[in-house]
């Protein structure tokens, strides 16, 4: 059974249809990329899966259970985490606190107002581990709003994966980064999504071909192709619809 | 019974239209700038006070003409030098700023004019009864109030929907960025809208001052009700504000006029309590006593069951 199943999902805003009859199956452990021209509806698709928007029709199932139209926190608790295209962290809290907050629910702390966080050794150690993984250990006490852009993106990633979610969705994780920064980011993404399922929206074809097991192409709210990278590269419809920077050699 | 109903309706109409004069400016400012101007009723107060002072020199009509202009200029200046600066610190800062402004204006009024109630007279021209029904008179001044209010609204409506300026303003409400890109000076528009909105509140003060009394607490008295009206009608909706203003105005007017006690009302439903019941206070109420509570009760109910208000569409 697939980990994530989208079945005839449609989404309209008023009379404008943004997502049109999208069906998709994502297998556990798969690294799946979603590409497509700007305005195709990729972020909207993410919002539908992660619970920010309700579907107009169709169903979304995760681990066999329906998750469409559930509130975002419910979906997050079931093991789906996401990052955002525009950095979406807690700017007035320290880098360390950002990660620690992301860990709280999965570590079982719920809404406790009687446990002092300073005393929670396991939790704090775990947070520091994640900080090390994303390379921000030395910035732990800085307010996250003061980080440089690439570092904020790294933190964004850290917050997304901290909870140990089974399905990780990254929305243009390397947008706005220089080549070297992007390289580091990709290595980071590989590391932290090892053994997990990844859905990634990305424009940079090098990265897409590097990481993805399969690629879906979204154009005007419809998936016109879902296949392995090589087949997508050769797909005439894709080439026609999306003149991206497809390199001649991967 | 009939004359009670007629007069209550007319008085409710006066109150409602007055409320709308305030609520419309508030809604306009909120729609455009996202700022809920806590100090809006303070401009209403300033209008009354300026008109009072001017009327001692150049009569009521001079006051009616000039006072709103002064208030509008002050409003524009506050937008330009205060609000615009605070805008970048976020909505909370804006609300707190307008809150502080309301506080400061009340203190300033007491500073410049003193704490006593001012003898602000309505013009002698209207010192007659417009009509009398079953022995009760309806003062011409109240009729004048209704007339002025309707005139202003008609004018506003035409300006907003038929004139070029109005179209630009309407566009700026929903798409300030686009309007700016078209070459219009959006900050200037904001300043003017704020000025006009506050001037409108000032007009309300000018004509209401003689009737609702001119004293330093007049802003607080009306201020919270105006907010109630705006929220009930739906933040950002002018038609909603109109409906809500009339609703609240009429509701209060009927409640005060219908000197019906709770026991009688309950008796209608076949319920009666003896006086030793613990909630005795509640059951021995009469409607006029409840009247001040009604708008807030309505507010809470609306916020629970339909938080966007009766006709609201814009959520913060």
């Amino acid at each position: 059974m697939s980990l994530l199943t989208l079945d005839s999902v449609c989404k309209s805003f008023g009379s404008t249809r943004i997502i049109n009859d999208v069906s998709l199956d994502i297998e556990a452990g798969e690294k799946h990329a979603i590409i497509g021209p700007n305005g195709a509806g990729k972020s909207t698709l993410f919002h539908l899966i992660s619970g920010r928007y309700n579907v107009s029709s169709g169903t979304i199932g995760f681990q066999g259970k329906a998750i469409h139209n559930l509130p975002p926190y419910e979906i997050a608790r079931r093991g789906i985490a996401r990052s955002f295209q525009v950095t979406n962290i807690f700017p007035r809290m320290s880098v360390f606190e950002n990660i620690r907050c992301a860990l709280l629910w999965s570590e079982g702390y719920r809404y406790s107002f009687w446990k002092l966080l300073g005393r929670q050794k396991l939790l704090n150690d775990k947070a520091f581990d994640i900080l090390e993984q994303i390379g921000l250990s030395d910035k732990a006490q800085l307010p996250s709003g003061e980080l440089a852009y690439a570092q904020q993106r790294a933190l964004e990633l850290g917050v997304a994966v901290a909870s140990g979610a089974e399905l990780i969705m990254l929305d243009e994780p390397v947008a706005g980064m220089s080549n070297s920064e992007a390289e580091n980011a990709v290595a980071l993404i590989r590391r932290i999504t090892e053994g997990k399922t990844l859905i990634m929206v990305e424009h940079d074809m090098n990265i897409v071909f590097d990481i993805a097991d399969r690629i879906s192409v979204l154009v005007y709210g419809e998936i016109i192709a879902t296949d392995t990278p090589e087949n997508i590269r050769g797909n005439a419809r894709v080439q026609e619809a999306y003149l991206g920077e497809v390199p001649s050699d991967a | 019974m009939a004359e009670v109903f007629v007069f209550a309706t007319l008085n409710g109409l006066v109150t409602g239209l007055l409320l709308f004069m305030l609520a419309s400016g508030l809604t306009l400012i909120f729609s455009m700038m996202g700022v809920l101007n806590f100090a809006h009723a303070s401009f209403y107060m300033l209008g009354a006070y300026f008109a009072y002072t001017l009327s001692t020199f150049i009569g009521f009509w001079g006051g009616l003409l000039i006072a709103p202009l002064i208030v509008g200029c002050i409003g524009a200046a506050i937008e330009r030098f205060g609000l615009r600066r605070v805008h970048q610190s976020g909505h909370v800062a804006e609300l707190v700023f307008t809150f502080g402004l309301a506080f400061l204006i009340e203190e300033a009024v007491q500073f410049f004019w003193g704490r006593d109630t001012k003898n602000y007279q309505s013009p002698e021209l209207f010192d007659f009864a417009l009509f009398s029904l079953f022995g009760q008179e309806f003062s011409a001044y109240r009729g004048f109030m209704i007339a002025i209010a309707c005139l202003i609204f008609a004018g506003l409506y035409f300006i907003l929907t038929r004139s070029r300026v109005g179209i630009i303003i309407q566009a700026s409400i929903s798409h300030p960025q686009t309007v700016a890109n078209l070459g219009h000076n959006v900050p200037l528009i904001f300043m003017c809208v704020f000025g006009v909105g506050t001037a409108l509140a000032g007009v309300a003060g000018v004509i209401a001052g003689p009737v609702l009394t001119t004293f330093p607490g007049m802003a607080t008295v009306l201020g919270s009700i105006v907010f109630v009206v705006v929220v009930i009608g739906g933040l950002g909706s002018l038609p909603g504000a109109l409906i809500a203003s009339l609703l609240v105005g009429l509701l209060q007017s009927y409640a005060i006029a219908a000197d019906v006690g709770m026991p009688e009302l309950l008796n209608l439903f076949g319920v009666s309590f003896d006086s030793s019941h613990p909630l005795d206070d509640l059951w021995t109420l009469n409607l006029p006593q409840i009247a001040p509570v009604l708008p807030y009760l309505l507010l809470v109910l609306v916020l629970i069951f339909k938080p966007t208000g009766l006709m609201g569409n814009r959520e913060q």
Binding site: N88, Y111 | F97
Partner: protein, 411 residues
């Protein structure tokens, strides 16, 4: 926490020592007021500074707690129920909590402006109802009680204000401690997260509504505790203590002190209590000054007085704080002149026929010379401030130049 032990010990020490220093009747009275308002302001900041929820109706929980506490005092005096009045703040807290649970159940559904409006509406509703439920609220006259009829607490019958102070100081310490500890818990931290980014908070598994509800209830509880202390201190409470003015006052305190810091409301409460008690003796216009000060704070010191102090942190870390002393002094002198002149002008406008004593001079409203002196003073001061600004700005920039490490990153 270990690093902060000295701070808490210092706090406790200060609480014990202060009444010995300021032992006049006025001094003790002011200290008593401070204990009440500090707790109230800190409770408000749980909503605004830590939770991002702007409320215009927080006095409701303070007032309800206070009313129930005065009734409790009367029940104790009538020996219907008997417990030490030292526990009255708990009564207030319980009532504040219950009210917050009830009201929070629907009001925390929304945030931002709508939440603020709901809080205002509820506040007005309760104030308006207070005149109806005259039994509980005592109508316009309010409710009075007597704290001295309770069972003695180790021999103390709380006849003296000083005795009441130590009770208040105890509750102040306890309440502050608990409110601080709350910020260190998951609920407290998530409140910060929800404040910063409610959307992201949901995506890490938390219902923003629930988080806000918990903060709301905690804030109501501590506001009620402050109300209980109020009841003990004044033995009298009216519907004024529930109304928008009181809510506004605590908002002022938190804001002027600085929303973003835990000690901010403490600073604000101290400043405002002092202004209220001391300034009102010297000038009828003190509320006007308060209003001006508040507005200026919102415009120019959005992080409050605590924020202003914390702004110097970088300079302190760079050991360059000394660079600022001279420029501050140079600006302070004309600033003081301006303030003196400005205040003088306002005071003189209201003296009527009286004489205004002004630093040894006697100024009269009818004397052109008097006005001239004040205007010159204010004008010179303003000019001096304007001239000294560039120097201050330069010194500030220099003091805040952050030393960079080898990577070029800020240290």
């Amino acid at each position: 926490m270990k690093k902060q032990l000295p701070v808490w010990l210092g706090f406790a020490l200060a609480l014990i020592v202060l009444p010995q220093i300021f032992d006049s009747v006025l001094g003790i009275s002011i200290l008593n007021q401070m204990t009440i308002w500090i707790i109230f302001a800190l409770s408000y900041n749980m909503l605004l500074g830590q939770g991002g929820m702007l409320s215009f109706g927080h006095a409701v929980y303070f007032g309800l707690g206070g009313f129930m506490s005065v009734h409790a005092l009367n029940l104790i005096a009538d020996e219907i129920i008997v417990f030490s009045i030292t526990l009255i703040p708990l009564v207030g807290g319980a009532v504040g909590l219950i009210a917050a649970v009830f009201i929070g159940s629907f009001s925390t559904r929304k945030s931002g402006t709508v939440f603020a409006m709901i809080s205002l509406g509820i506040g007005e509703l309760i104030v308006a109802s207070s005149l109806i439920f005259a039994d509980f609220f005592g109508g316009e006259a309010g409710v009075t009680g007597d704290r001295t009829y309770g069972p003695p607490f180790f021999g103390i019958e709380f006849l003296q204000d000083a005795e009441v102070y130590y009770l208040g100081a105890f509750w102040l310490f306890v309440a502050t401690l608990f409110m601080y500890l709350f910020t260190q818990t998951p609920a407290g931290r998530m409140a910060n997260a929800v404040r910063d980014n409610p959307e992201r908070a949901e995506f890490i598994g938390y219902s923003t509504r629930r988080v806000r509800f918990i903060s709301f209830c905690a804030a109501g509880l501590f506001a009620g505790v402050a109300g209980g202390l109020f009841a003990i201190n004044y033995e009298f409470i009216t519907e004024e203590n529930l109304n928008a003015l009181t809510s506004g006052r605590v908002l002022l305190m938190a804001y002027i002190g600085g929303l973003g810091f835990f000690i901010g409301p403490i600073v604000g409460a101290v400043i405002l209590t002092l202004m209220n008690s001391l300034l009102s003796n010297y000038s009828e216009m003190w509320m006007l000054y308060l209003g001006i000060m508040f507005l200026l704070t919102v415009l120019f010191l959005p992080r409050g007085f605590a924020g202003f102090i914390m702004m110097h942190q970088t300079a302190w870390q760079n050991h360059r704080l000394g660079m600022l002393i001279l420029p501050y002094l140079i600006t302070a002198i004309p600033l003081s002149l301006f303030l003196a002149g400005f205040v003088g002008l306002i005071e003189l406008s209201h003296k009527g026929d009286d004489i205004l004593p002004f630093f040894g001079l006697s100024l009269g409203a009818d004397s052109m010379l008097s006005w001239g002196v004040l205007l010159t003073l204010a004008g010179t001061g303003a000019l001096g401030v304007k001239l000294s600004r560039p120097r201050l700005n330069a010194a500030w920039a220099a003091a805040n130049t952050v030393a960079k490490d080898a990577d070029g990153d800020a240290q």
